[in-house]
Symmetry: C2
Subunit: 170 residues, 2 copies
DNA sequence: CATTGCATGTAACGCGTTACATGATTAT
DNA sequence: ATAATCATGTAACGCGTTACATGCAATG
């Protein structure tokens, strides 16, 4: 039920079309909450039906510009403050760890080594993104940088864990 | 497509019924890959159709004991070594961060404070689990402890991030 | 004999992914 | 002209959740 709130959240910064939102997703939420175009268009339709957004303008090529309604803003705030974030995080990377006894110790170490590398690369990638979004004083940029810091810290922690884990296997 | 491999992985340690597997899930994989009873029974049926597991015994109350087949073991190993783990991790906790400008700074700090607390509690809970599974020399216990260490490190990192983030908001 | 535990399944619904389908407008 | 970009949608399929349905066997 969170794509709904992701869309509401982006619209809380100003009106936009589905197409605009899709681009916004790519540069902001994509690492936190990936969404596909199909999904987004469908969700905008449902949001409009529910009265949480309105179509405020229609442009060329059938463009529909959506704006959040007062009810939508209320719902967004309610979701932020009153709904407990889900705890369950599925990780197929970690799931494999449980079954490493089924492959040779060499391969198992190889697996963990590769995960350490991937996490390291991910951290570097995020450092790059940080350089790119350093300016930007709009809400999404300001809080996006806080979210980015999260990604960085988690990636580094994951890398260190994988390096540690690799050494545990003898 | 990972519940399939979770089931294969558990069966690689020995034959078990759906009911047994469900209990095993609860004490081992539940933090990494939650699964419901419906889902598991359905998946066992599909695995049997695909020849990756066999029904090796039928007991009282319609109990069916499943065992992994050589093909199943091959598939499990292929999945571990040849299939790249998914990178995308959705986090509705982090998604909310992007939209914190929509609530007051006090509330925003409150949100982050609460997340720090929750992560701290989660870390403590995992410390407790660690005390509980310290012995245990079977594969699942050995690798489960490595997975547990992951959860611990990530929880601590998350806690520290949330504490840091709270201070960023003025 | 009643409760608890063992044991398996079905049905409905929503979210997410992939692929497909269509067409208008702008820039070169 | 034609290619790139803008722009919206539909359809099929799979995974995951929740709720429901059923019944046997062991324990006290």
């Amino acid at each position: 039920m969170s794509l709904r709130h992701a869309a509401l959240g982006l619209l809380s910064e100003g009106p936009a079309s589905g197409y605009d939102l899709m681009k916004l997703f790519e540069v902001s939420l994509s690492n936190t909450w990936p969404a596909t175009q199909s999904q987004l268009y469908a969700e905008l339709g449902k949001l409009a039906d529910a009265g949480l957004v309105d179509v405020v303008a229609e442009g060329p090529r059938g463009r529909k510009e959506y704006a959040i309604t007062p009810e939508g803003l209320t719902e967004l705030r309610r979701w932020i403050t009153d709904v407990e974030p889900a705890r369950a995080t599925r990780s197929d990377m970690l799931l494999r760890v449980f079954f490493l006894a089924q492959i040779s110790p060499e391969r198992a170490r190889g697996y963990l080594h590769r995960q350490a590398e991937l996490s390291g690369k991910e951290a570097e990638r995020l450092e790059g993104v940080r350089g790119f979004v350093e300016s930007g004083t709009d809400n999404l940029s300001v809080y996006g940088r806080i979210a980015l810091e999260y990604g960085l810290r988690i990636s580094r922690a994951q890398q260190e864990w994988a390096e540690w884990a690799e050494e545990q296997i003898r």
